[in-house]
């Protein structure tokens, strides 16, 4: 129903430098990993791994740098809502492209 803005718990959660440092180092390491993996032939798994790593990195940024982990449920829903619509655009467009009779896919 109504999302809660409870003032007491709304006391801004301040994320400190240690967390940020951990995150940024993880991100840099993952960048190296994703570049490295790209040079290994894994067939169909290459793009999948690349995207998986990218998604993971993005989630780190969203959760920690952008404080979603510490934010209200409303903001969490907002992020999900954006993802959902984006997936709608992709998947429903794909229903056309994958099933086109002339088989460009």
């Amino acid at each position: 129903m109504t999302e809660k803005i409870d003032p007491e718990h709304q006391e801004q959660h301040i994320v400190g430098p240690p967390v940020y440092l951990t995150i940024v180092i993880t991100l840099l390491v993952l960048t190296a990993v994703t570049t490295g993996v790209a040079f290994i032939d894994l067939g169909v798994f290459n793009p999948i791994i690349a995207l998986a790593i990218a998604c993971f990195k993005a989630s780190l940024v969203v959760l920690f740098f952008m404080h979603i982990k510490y934010s209200s449920r409303l903001l969490k829903m907002t992020v999900l809502c954006g993802l959902f619509t984006f997936m709608l655009l992709m998947t429903l467009t794909m229903t056309d492209y994958i099933s086109r009779a002339w088989g460009m896919w």
């Binding site: 009779a101 002339w102 088989g103 460009m104």
Partner: protein
Amino acid sequence: MSHISPVLWQFLVNWFKNFAVFPPEASTIAPYADALYFALVGVTITGLVLVFAMVTFFSIRYRKDRHPEAVQIEGSTVLEATWTLIPLGIFLVFFVWGALLYFRIYNAPPNAMNVYVVGKQWMWKVEHPGGQHEINALHIPAGIPIQVTLISQDVFHSFSIPAFRVKREAIPGRYTTVFFQATRPGKYHLFCTQYCGTDHSGMVGWVYVMAPDDYRAWAAGNTSGASLAQNGERLFAVMGCNACHTGTSQARGPNLFGLYNSRVRMTDGSTMVANEAYLREKILNPSLHVPAGFVPIMPNYQGQISESGLIDLVEYIKSLDSNYRLHQMMNKSVLDSAQPEPIGSANQGAGAAPVPGVQKP
């Protein structure tokens, strides 16, 4: 005013003489479409009358003079469910009905006679299998299933014959098809319905539905001498296709005999149906799909062959398929049976047998 009224008068008179609020039904599709249409109209009227009746009745019965005290009502789950489910049910019926019709319109029977139409700003160029060319006109025999294969040279156009209740977009770079079978000889409107620039409204023509005899007479009188397939055969030699597609086992390119409408296995393991679109794509972008067992050495002919040339080539490759030829022969025999004496190249392009240069393996 003085300018308008005579015009109005004149056309009111015309109108009563020729009361046109409904297009002629001139194809086998039309009765199906009209049935669906009237069913939809019926539901619309029912729904409208329902809403209208309720609104009118309530307005009279519960107007303030008669009913000064409003009675507060929360709502009713039963009623909500009723008017959710009933319209949903009705809509779903129409979904199924419409889908069936859609598949009927866009999937031609295998024996359909193939006519090619190229759209360009702002005219329709029609190419019959027998090699007849027309501009902004389409002559077809009644009673024979016809598949129109469309393509555009520039922008989107749309090939619309209201009397047949069919229409299909002509798309640049891709074949689309539409199917119909005319029933009544006559002359019907042909429109371009997709907005295509300045002279969009001038991209109109006529469809002439003729009795099979008349059609054959017309076809005989209008042939340019060579059928599409024959033109294609010539092109096949001129462009050097036959250098590789010799049809022999040592050839560098695959054998094209019987290729049309067969399933081709690709190097990546998938299979594709070798339809018109596939053939066209092979000539323009050969490396997009490479059949298994071949090295992609085929040169691409982008920019070297016009759309009509492509159609010729495609029709030629199609004619190498005995099944296809058989189907076209059946059409021909339908046409022939109408009149005993055989007439020239009415439909013989597709049936033009042994093609030199390509032998049966």
